[in-house]
Symmetry: C2
Subunit: 578 residues, 2 copies
Amino acid sequence: MKLRLARYVPILDWGRTYDRSALSDDLVAAVIVTIMLIPQSLAYALLAGLPPEAGIYASILPIVLYAIFGTSRALAVGPVAVVSLMTAAAVGQVAEAGTMGYALAALTLAFLSGAILLVMGVFRLGFLANFLSHPVIAGFITASGILIAASQLSHILGIRGGGDTLVEVIEGLVAHLGDVNPVTLAIGVAATGFLFWVRKGMKPWLRARGVGPRLADVLTKAGPVAAVVVTTLATWGLGLADRGVAVVGPVPQSLPPLTMPSFDAGLLRQLFVPALLISVIGFVESISVAQTLAAKKRQRIDPDQELIGLGAANIGAAFTGGYPVTGGFARSVVNFDAGAATPAAGAFTAAGLAIAAVALTPLVYFLPKATLAATIIVAVLSLVDFSILKKTWAYSRADFFAVAATILLTLGFGVETGVSAGVILSIGLHLYKTSRPHVAEVGLVPGTQHFRNIRRHAVQTDPAILSLRVDESLYFVNARFLEDLIQDRVAQDCPIRHVVLMCSAVNEIDFSALESLEAINTRLTGLGIGLHLSEVKGPVMDRLRKSHFLEALNGQVFQAQYDAWRLLSAPAPAAAAR
Amino acid sequence: MKLRLARYVPILDWGRTYDRSALSDDLVAAVIVTIMLIPQSLAYALLAGLPPEAGIYASILPIVLYAIFGTSRALAVGPVAVVSLMTAAAVGQVAEAGTMGYALAALTLAFLSGAILLVMGVFRLGFLANFLSHPVIAGFITASGILIAASQLSHILGIRGGGDTLVEVIEGLVAHLGDVNPVTLAIGVAATGFLFWVRKGMKPWLRARGVGPRLADVLTKAGPVAAVVVTTLATWGLGLADRGVAVVGPVPQSLPPLTMPSFDAGLLRQLFVPALLISVIGFVESISVAQTLAAKKRQRIDPDQELIGLGAANIGAAFTGGYPVTGGFARSVVNFDAGAATPAAGAFTAAGLAIAAVALTPLVYFLPKATLAATIIVAVLSLVDFSILKKTWAYSRADFFAVAATILLTLGFGVETGVSAGVILSIGLHLYKTSRPHVAEVGLVPGTQHFRNIRRHAVQTDPAILSLRVDESLYFVNARFLEDLIQDRVAQDCPIRHVVLMCSAVNEIDFSALESLEAINTRLTGLGIGLHLSEVKGPVMDRLRKSHFLEALNGQVFQAQYDAWRLLSAPAPAAAAR
């Protein structure tokens, strides 16, 4: 019983061996992550169209719940860029930004998303995330990064913006280009330039000036905080808010409030598909971060338990004024690098953020939105990577097509259309490929018992035997293809007395394909041609034995293609080298 | 140029060799089919919720257009049971039965369906029909047959009915059970009983009484006409229409009218998905009839040209007062049996029906609807076949699950939900199966060069070599599965020095799987274990050569698993029989 409970509540596992050394590691990591998370949480809330405090609230209880139910020791859960963008797109369809209904819809989205993740976890449906291929994910992340960066340009320019697609965002920018606020623009450009330099050039610059590697590392991580502090002070000291610089403004000084999502059936129905997409995308992002970090320390991640951890975190967000959350790449890597030893580091981070929510929120009143936008732009542009297009073009046109379509549709029609189309396209292209399988005519490699394609190798053949190696499972999508192929081949070629289907690559024969094989057998019997199978795999053979096919088969089933060859080929030296 | 035109217009092919013998065969077939089609067309129009003449109109121009563009020599195109039911379900959602809007929506549905078929034909998308597995089709046809028969019971009982699902139909019947008209019931039961007897018992009964086989055949086919004539005369002679027997009533005496479908964007959008389903289901039904009949005469059907033929027929129906049509089983078999030699038989049938539309329609005024309902019930109950459940249960649980779900969802939620769920389920179950592929650990069958599963065969193994045969293509759905499997296996088993992936069943390695293989290679290199591939198929190898994987691979690629065994296994007699 204890063991079974520990499966669903991993804290019972690592909690028993917790000691002072782990505590000190976790506390140091928590301080570093907390400092980094304050501006990031405010910025992502802005991206999601929510009041800034929602970003902080979404980082507190969710982190604690993930620490209890999750399996990764380094994953930091909270608002992330792509999920914030998807939240804005989903909630924007059902409510006006800035209204109570908008915040309520965001809570409801988090609740739904949490419920979906929990159900997937309990029913062990983590494999569904595999339906997103690597190239589709890469394309989606790249396109989302571009969309997010473009959407933040309005804050840098100090004008109104918005829109779910690249065209809408650009149209919005162009329409308001006359309203550009020069002071805001100056702050935004300076902050963006500084943050890019922090990311790329600061560490070598410091090292060249004799700063030690450890200190250079800490200073580099403090860069975004410096940008926040400097621009806030400048805005306050120079009275720039009166000169049209948009600032964060009043943020309530409070612990996360107790909130309720809506249980209105109509709203739940409208938000269901977006919530499903957010759950799957969030899960895929989170699990890949968690697995990358776990592999470095030879720890193990249980994907189904991760679903439960993320589900609990989202339910937590729904009841404490947050919005959908997941495991973020940047924050998790910082947590890991800072030496977090157990999920308790997350709990301490939550405590740090709670203190910040109560004590520090007045300090961000004069924080310019342009600085937050700069933080986001610099973070998401590191996600943009077009090399996947080049790599897939060289390797596989189908993968290239899927990734190109995902990028274009995400940019052109928004995140939901983009990712749905990517999934459907990858599956469709896979089915299309398997619907016209590669079928090789094979012959014997002289001096061996090995059979290879007659077009690629110098092999022995016998004109009376047609040996076909079908390089695909036989199932409904390609059942008729094989029927047509054999019919065409036999009609052309008169001396054929035996057809041998070499099934070494046939991993399944479903009921539709079974009916096709029966039809082929009937037809060949009518023509006086024998139908044989060889190298049928164990599981496939087990299933064929349950049908009447083996009784009806006019030929034999051989264990090896070579056995078929020995028995069926003419004993006289009719076999000629090709 | 001429040849290319003949590809799209097959009449240019068979038309050139048309002679008097073919003409006489075609004429005889046309007379027989015309007589059979008159009551059937009226009945199916009734089922579709349309005025009776729509059924006749839908059989005239469509037959001619199919004769010009189609490739089957025996297929008879017109209204069929399942498509009529789907039409009723689709049009019923956008208009009230009996209104002008209803007939207009039916024309629009035919137009959309024709356009979809034409586009599929021009772009050679006939393979899309393969996405419907045999069991799903069988389940759908069975469930549709039950739905149709149930929906006709109200006409037999002489009460009002309706509904798209079995529950709705039964509720409708129960609600009006007090209104049963005893005279109608008597006619309906008598007609149904007679028609069942005609189908099952009449021929043996006639033969036993010394009637020749040819005459018995003709009399059997005339059975439904006899039922129509007798019940019409009885209703007219006994004045039964005044005693509440619903009759066909006035049917305009005219050639098919020139009609226009609606081009309202909203209506087109609402009807698009139903039109797509009708196109695909109609195409699958039609092509399977056409191929069955063509195989008997060793003729060939071109599926993509069939799409064009059926598309033209539906466009024709849309402009001449019809509704969606396809190649019907019963009418095509009758046409074939009656000796139709070329598609010209269809044209003569069209002429016969045109004459009937102008001259014979007053005669059906007193035809009871109960007789038409009896015709439909007897026809569709022959489609109901639950044996597919038993067959798939024995052979494959996944196929059983797909067929059972298709039947239940069609009965419970209507035809569109049923067939969509069937397609999605078959694809989903296939992906699920391939997401957890069968992976066998293999060893050498002593005295051969052949490797088989160590759990099923007595084979030689070497503790330093882990030989895994992956029985599935490697692609995004199962990419992570292999990564996890090898990691688990290598972690358990210390003496392993080499991992050999035997790729005889790997028909594809997509980009996601390539990235997984790279990750496996990196991980095994770190553990000092060699990764090798063997029996990689030509097309897969071609693709791997385009990537950097082969350079990064720490081991080798062997042509045969036996080569890997010879090189890697310890030269000392460390190999032990397992």
